[in-house]
């Protein structure tokens, strides 16, 4: 088979091992979904093919053993392996076809949009409450009373009740959550809660209460100010 083929196989194995076993064990990380691992392995394979075919010699060194294995004469013990591949390939195609069409009790893959688009009536809103130390403090107080049980006293999504939810409550100190959004977006999310999410946001997957039934709008605006200040983030603005 030659070293030219062995190296790529080892490289793909190493990349797979890193993605499957190393990345999940980094503190604060989690296992990667198969879709992402597949994506990265495809990239690795593309890289290998590109590099191996940059010159005639490297292409021959990479491709000739494959060609010889598939079509060559007198390959000795590899003959059995060739028949094995010829049998395995249609079996794998058959298995793939079967598993993608057979009835299964497994739920479909989840593709939940975390930040779906807000309804038009919320897009132009701006916070009517003046931003003063007092109003921010009041907002933090409301946050402590109504939001912190789930979103956490440190605004990190690790409140005492958070463990009971899947997906977990949003972590506001993560720069990829509220820092990406305008205040009006948060106003919509707090006011309408999980049930107010559009389909792509999977309203059935969120336990966020519809706070409009309990809190006046002014309190919600103050909570938003308190959240940003407490999480050391700033809302998206255009000025």
């Amino acid at each position: 088979m030659g070293g030219s083929l062995l190296k790529p196989v080892i490289l793909i194995g190493i990349v797979y091992a890193i993605l499957k076993f190393v990345v999940p064990n980094i503190p604060g990380s989690a296992p990667l979904p198969a879709s992402l691992i597949f994506l990265y392995l495809m990239l690795t394979t593309s890289g290998i093919v590109i590099f191996a075919t940059l010159s005639g010699e490297s292409k021959d060194a990479f491709w000739n053993p494959i060609q010889r294995f598939m079509t060559g004469e007198n390959i000795g013990g590899l003959q059995v392996l060739r028949y094995g591949v010829l049998l395995l390939f249609p079996l794998m195609v058959g298995w793939q076809t079967y598993s993608s069409t057979a009835t299964s009790d497994a739920p479909p893959s989840e593709n939940r949009t975390i930040h779906p688009a807000p309804p038009g009536e919320y897009t132009g809103l701006s916070n009517p409450v003046p931003k003063t130390p007092d109003t921010i403090q009041q907002g933090k107080g409301f946050y402590a009373a109504f939001c912190s049980p789930c979103h956490g006293g440190n605004f990190d999504g690790k409140g005492p009740a958070a463990r009971g939810f899947n997906p977990p409550p949003a972590n506001f100190s993560d720069p990829t959550t509220i820092a990406m959004l305008q205040e009006s977006y948060l106003f919509w999310r707090i006011k309408k809660g999980g049930v107010g999410l559009p389909i792509e946001g999977m309203p059935w997957k969120s336990a966020m209460p519809r706070w409009e039934v309990e809190l006046p709008d002014e309190w919600i605006w103050k909570i938003i100010m308190g959240e940003y200040d407490g999480a050391h983030q700033a809302p998206r603005t255009w000025e």
Binding site: L39, G47, N111, R112, P167, R236
Partner: protein, 592 residues
């Protein structure tokens, strides 16, 4: 129909058979029903038709296909003159006749391509008037003055094209050539306006500015100068250059693969190089223009911005990343193959650099392709705590995407510089210092882009968007604008150690060129769907609602099918245009 006709004939025959009794009865019924007309006059006229449809295909699908083909053809027809004119200017300035030949070869395509584009434009107009009369009435009411301007532009563009093409051989020497170059410039000048006028109609639908009062011209002008008009104009202009370049590359690739002699192989190998170069030349600034457009859309309307970048259309941008990634990889691969095959002996010298560049490109592409919300099974989502990965989720936002796209642009630029320098030995005394300066610039620029990207997570969004992202772009542009003239200066006195050999590229180079062109076409069809779907259930966003049965966004899988169909049809049309345009040349070649 045949059955109905037979029924009526039988009825008449029955009437004749009964001695005209039946006919008399009909007359009587007619007379008696006359007073009903008076009542009928009081009934309100039937409501104006808002939509029409056709069975099986559906009006929206038909308009989708025709509009996309028209847009792709328009991109081709506007991109090719830029490409041809640039080649003609190079030939004029350097005296290299082969550039003039190339320019002429592509201008020849324009007359038939122009007619085909206009044909699809006409079909699109008829379909829009027939299927969407309410919308077209509304748009006509607003844009009537610009419709007139558009027609006038078409007249002058057509005249200029005829002069440019038919006068090619007659205007080859002295002042006549200068005039011909001027005609080429005017052709592109009018073409630019032909592009931006309809852009105003399309962008108005996404970001309308409606004046309740004022003259026709004032209303049309306000609607034209809407927030996304110029970002789209610039984005499309650059994209057309990219399309023109890569289609030239694909054409050269196919001709190279089917070349019958060494002369043809040399010519089409060189043409492929020029096409790829112009495609890459346009590709480098394209992400900046796209970023500006998205920023304007988001600023114009939060709902539309999030629909595109965080909502249900956000997966389009992962597909976009894949397609752009393949394009970057394909273009670099072609450069690297060029170094290996056209400049014998260079492969060993640059193999390590190519490997480093490839690894950087793949890492960047990995980040660019990582979505914010991942596709995961229930079990996987549970382990991650939702569809957002706690560690790799940071790759899913703009700060990461901007950083890697800038790095990929830098790497591609360096591939080109490497290709340019291969086979030459610098003789200038300051060459060592210049090369050290260029290396330092490149490394510092790379570090600065990464630092700004990481820092972008810790500052308010507006600082990142207005200052950090802009600085990243400026840094990359600075590197390009510094290294390009420095390299040109360095190579002016350089000694050629290995002559470039044309016609030795392997077949996979030709396939890479075809792949690049297909990627660009797919990208344009994908973004066409994104632009149209971002309006969701509005014909004119927030102003004129879509009340047809098609007021929903088609699923991505369905849309991907139509995009693939559009790409296929466009490739067939372009192949036909090339075939028609080169038919007489082939006949001449076989006679001689």
């Amino acid at each position: 129909m045949q059955q109905q006709g037979g029924w009526f004939q039988r009825l008449l025959q029955a009437g004749r058979g009964h001695g005209g009794m039946f006919s008399a009865l009909l007359w009587a019924v007619g007379l008696l029903s006359l007073p009903a007309l008076a009542f009928g006059a009081d009934v309100a006229p039937a409501a104006a038709t808002e939509y029409r449809d056709i069975p099986y295909i559906g009006s929206r699908n038909l308009v989708w296909v025709v509009a996309q083909l028209h847009l792709l053809l328009a991109g081709f027809v506007l991109g090719v003159p830029i490409f041809a004119w640039l080649c003609e200017v190079v030939a004029w300035k350097t005296g290299e006749k082969r550039y003039d030949k190339l320019a002429k070869e592509f201008t020849k395509l324009l007359t038939s391509a122009y007619a085909t584009t206009a044909l699809f434009g006409g079909i699109l107009l008829f379909l829009l008037i027939s299927f969407y009369p309410k919308l077209m009435n509304y748009l006509t009411d607003i844009f009537f003055p610009s419709f007139i301007v558009y027609c006038l532009l078409f007249l002058v563009e057509t005249m200029t094209l005829y002069l440019y093409w038919y006068g090619w051989d007659a205007m080859q020497d002295g002042h006549k050539k200068t005039f011909h170059i001027f005609l080429g410039f005017m052709l592109n000048f009018f073409a630019f306006f032909i592009m931006i006028v309809p852009n105003s109609w399309a962008t108005f639908q996404a970001s309308p500015v409606v004046l309740a009062e004022g003259s026709d011209i004032a209303r049309a002008w306000a609607a034209t100068w809407n927030p996304t008009w110029w970002p789209v104009n610039i984005h499309r202009l650059i994209a057309n250059v990219v399309l023109g370049g890569y289609i030239c590359g694909a054409y050269a690739g196919i001709r190279y693969l089917s070349a019958r002699n060494a002369e043809e192989r040399d010519h089409y190998d060189w043409m492929g190089y020029v096409g790829n170069f112009i495609g890459v030349f346009g590709l480098l600034p394209l992400p900046f223009a796209g970023y500006w457009l998205m920023r304007e859309i988001y600023q114009y309307n939060q709902q539309m911005g999030i629909t595109l970048m965080g909502g249900f259309l956000s997966w389009l941008f992962i597909l976009q990343a894949m397609l752009i990634g393949v394009l970057f990889l394909g273009s670099n691969y072609y450069f690297w193959l060029g170094i290996t095959y056209r400049i014998p002996g260079s492969e060993l010298k640059y193999r390590k650099s190519m490997l480093s560049m490839l690894i950087i490109l793949l890492l960047c592409l990995g980040v660019w392709m990582t979505p914010h919300s991942l596709v995961a099974s229930l079990e996987e989502a549970r382990k991650m705590g939702g569809t957002h990965h706690p560690l790799l989720g940071v790759f899913g936002v703009m700060s990461a995407k901007m950083t890697v796209s800038n790095l990929m642009i830098l790497v591609t630029f360096m591939s080109f510089i490497m290709y340019w320098r291969a086979g030459k030995e610098e003789t200038a005394g300051w060459a060592k210092a210049a090369k050290a300066l260029m290396s330092a610039l490149l490394v510092l620029a790379g570090i600065a882009v990464v630092v700004l990207g990481v820092w972008g997570y810790f500052v308010p969004a507006i600082i990142r968007i207005n200052y950090f992202s802009t600085s990243q772009v400026m840094i990359v542009l600075f590197v390009m604008l510094t290294i390009t003239p420095l390299t040109a200066l360095l190579l002016k006195s350089a000694k050629t150690t290995t002559e470039m050999v044309w016609g030795k590229m392997p077949p996979r180079a030709g396939y890479a060129l075809v792949l690049n062109a297909i990627m660009v076409i797919l990208l344009m069809t994908l973004m066409g769907y994104a632009r149209s779907s971002s309006r969701v259930h509005w014909h004119v966003y927030g102003v004129l609602r879509d009340s047809s049965q098609y007021a929903f966004s088609p699923a991505l899988g369905y849309a991907a099918g139509i995009m693939a169909l559009n790409t296929f049809l466009f490739c067939m049309i372009v192949a036909f245009i090339f075939w028609v345009a080169t038919m007489s040349d082939k006949a001449k070649a076989s006679h001689s």
